[in-house]
């Protein structure tokens, strides 16, 4: 939370699909270095917001800036600062997993021995070295989840967005991923996390935003938001309206 320019600034973001408004004028700022949780029930607008940030969804209104770079006007610089770990496994099925990382770095304009070294380091960090020559379809669910995270980090983004990073993984792997995410954040990477596991947000996030029907209904530090109660109580109270 050091930089004057925030990692993410969203101002009055609107996203419509025809007559349906998926995101309805939300605004918030995520300072650099923060671990931010974006919560909300299914269909609330979390993934649409994330897609707008990374360029997968076209913005209807408002603006988004990543480290001061507008994602529409200055899209090339903006995209270089962010890494996305989507919920689904959308790896290239023709590449082995080491090449998944190396080619992803290539799309970001990076290549050479430094990239190969970073790919090997990430494979090692995520305990995937022995599977380096396999295609992703040969990996277990937990390994695919770790590969998603490794791919998001290959170009050393300053901001990492994790869409349901622990969906469908067992408790052991979840705890392991929590530890990895904490370490990443401690090393200075800003993290935005969406999750349905409220205890995960409570455990990891410095600050939480709750979206309901495309609107931001809460934006507070985790400590203040929970107060004397539990995140679950607050979440249910805000999203049942």
């Amino acid at each position: 939370m050091n930089g004057a320019v925030p990692a993410l600034r969203i101002e009055n973001l609107v996203k419509r699909y025809g007559d349906f408004t998926a995101v309805d004028g939300i605004s918030f700022v995520v300072p650099e270095g923060q671990f931010f949780g974006l919560l909300g029930p299914n269909g609330a607008g979390k993934t649409t917001t994330i897609n707008a940030i990374v360029g997968l969804a076209k913005i209807t209104g408002g603006s988004i800036a990543l480290f001061g770079h507008d994602v529409v006007r200055d899209w090339r610089a903006a995209r270089g600062t962010v890494g996305l770990a989507p919920q689904e496994y959308n790896f290239d099925r023709y590449l082995n997993i080491r090449d998944v990382l190396i080619f992803q770095a290539g799309y970001y304009g990076l290549r050479g021995p430094a990239v190969a070294k970073r790919a090997d380091l990430l494979l090692e960090r995520f305990d995937l070295t022995s599977k380096a020559k396999l295609v992703y379809t040969k990996l277990s669910g937990g390994m695919k989840r770790r590969l998603t995270l490794a791919r998001a980090l290959i170009h050393q983004p300053r901001l990492v967005i994790l869409d349901e990073p622990t969906a469908g993984v067992d408790v052991e792997l979840r705890l392991e991923l929590w530890s990895m995410l904490r370490e990443l954040n401690t090393n200075g990477t800003t993290i935005i996390l969406t999750t349905h596991y409220l205890e995960e947000a409570e455990e990891l996030c410095d600050r939480i935003g709750i979206i309901q029907a495309g609107k931001l209904v809460a934006l507070e530090t985790t400590k203040k938001l929970i107060g004397e109660g539990s995140l679950q109580d607050i979440f249910l109270e805000l999203t049942r309206r």
């Binding site: 989507p86 290239d92 099925r93 023709y94 590449l95 992803q104 799309y107 970001y108 304009g109 290549r111």
Partner: protein
């Protein structure tokens, strides 16, 4: 125009990796099919035809067969790669990266051109060995391959974006490309057709591609070379512009 040259080159390389990982679908079928066409039509039935446009029928056949395979493979590979990327969502790897529409489209198209040249050279070698047919005008040979590959890679991108299921990308091949190529002069010279069919051939775009390419072998064509090249170039530029526009607006790519 290309700012992220590493990203563009990475996409070309990725497409090549894809091609060689499915080599039995992409590279060998055109070679084997050509071999069969040459044996059955060129050396078998063709032995009863004295000569066409000054060369043996088998030699006349080779450039048309190369075009037939190039057109089919270039379109199929480009469209299936784009559609599969959309279907599996792996194309998001490109869409979230700092790659512009021109870098993405050129990545697919240049890969299509490289693939086309590779396939063409294999079949050309086959033709040289089997029926002693070889290009005599290499610049035109390469130019036509490049233009045709740009056209059909771009069409592949367009239909890869339009398609909602795999079946849709076969529509262009089944109902347009294959019939038009077959009647576009692969097997016969326009001069051998009745006057009415000659006139109909002139509205078939495949005719100009085959005629221009055959010119690089036998240095003669059914229509002036400038006309053939003009038609092919116009179509290639138009298809490329449409593919670029669709990618730039994020058609079925960005919601």
């Amino acid at each position: 125009m290309i700012v992220n040259s590493v990203g563009f080159q990475t996409l070309v390389k990725r497409e090549m990796v894809r091609t060689f990982s499915i080599i039995n679908q992409v590279i060998w079928p055109p070679v084997i099919q050509t071999l069969l066409y040459v044996f059955i039509f060129g050396l078998g039935l063709g032995s009863r035809i004295k000569e066409v446009q000054g060369v043996s029928y088998a030699q006349f056949l080779i450039p048309g067969l190369i075009m037939l395979q190039l057109i089919d493979q270039t379109y199929s590979e480009s469209s299936s790669s784009v559609f599969q990327g959309r279907f599996m969502n792996s194309i998001q790897e490109l869409l979230i990266a700092p790659l512009s529409a021109i870098e993405i489209v050129l990545g697919y198209v240049v890969a299509g051109v490289v693939r086309a040249i590779f396939i063409a050279l294999l079949i050309t070698a086959l033709g040289a060995v089997l029926v002693h047919a070889a290009p005599s005008y290499w610049a035109l040979y390469l130019l036509t391959i490049v233009l045709v590959a740009i056209l059909f890679s771009s069409l592949g991108i367009i239909f890869g974006l339009l398609a909602e299921k795999f079946d849709h990308i076969a529509v262009l091949t089944t109902f347009f490309i294959t019939p038009l190529v077959f009647v576009g002069g692969v097997f016969t010279s326009m001069q051998l057709l009745p006057p009415l069919l000659q006139k109909i051939s002139l509205v078939n775009p495949m005719f100009y591609m085959i005629d221009s390419f055959r010119y690089s072998y036998i240095r003669t064509g059914d229509v002036p070379l400038a006309v053939s090249l003009g038609v092919v170039t116009t179509l290639a530029v138009a298809a490329f512009v449409v593919a670029l526009r669709m990618t730039a607006v994020g058609f079925k790519l960005r919601t």
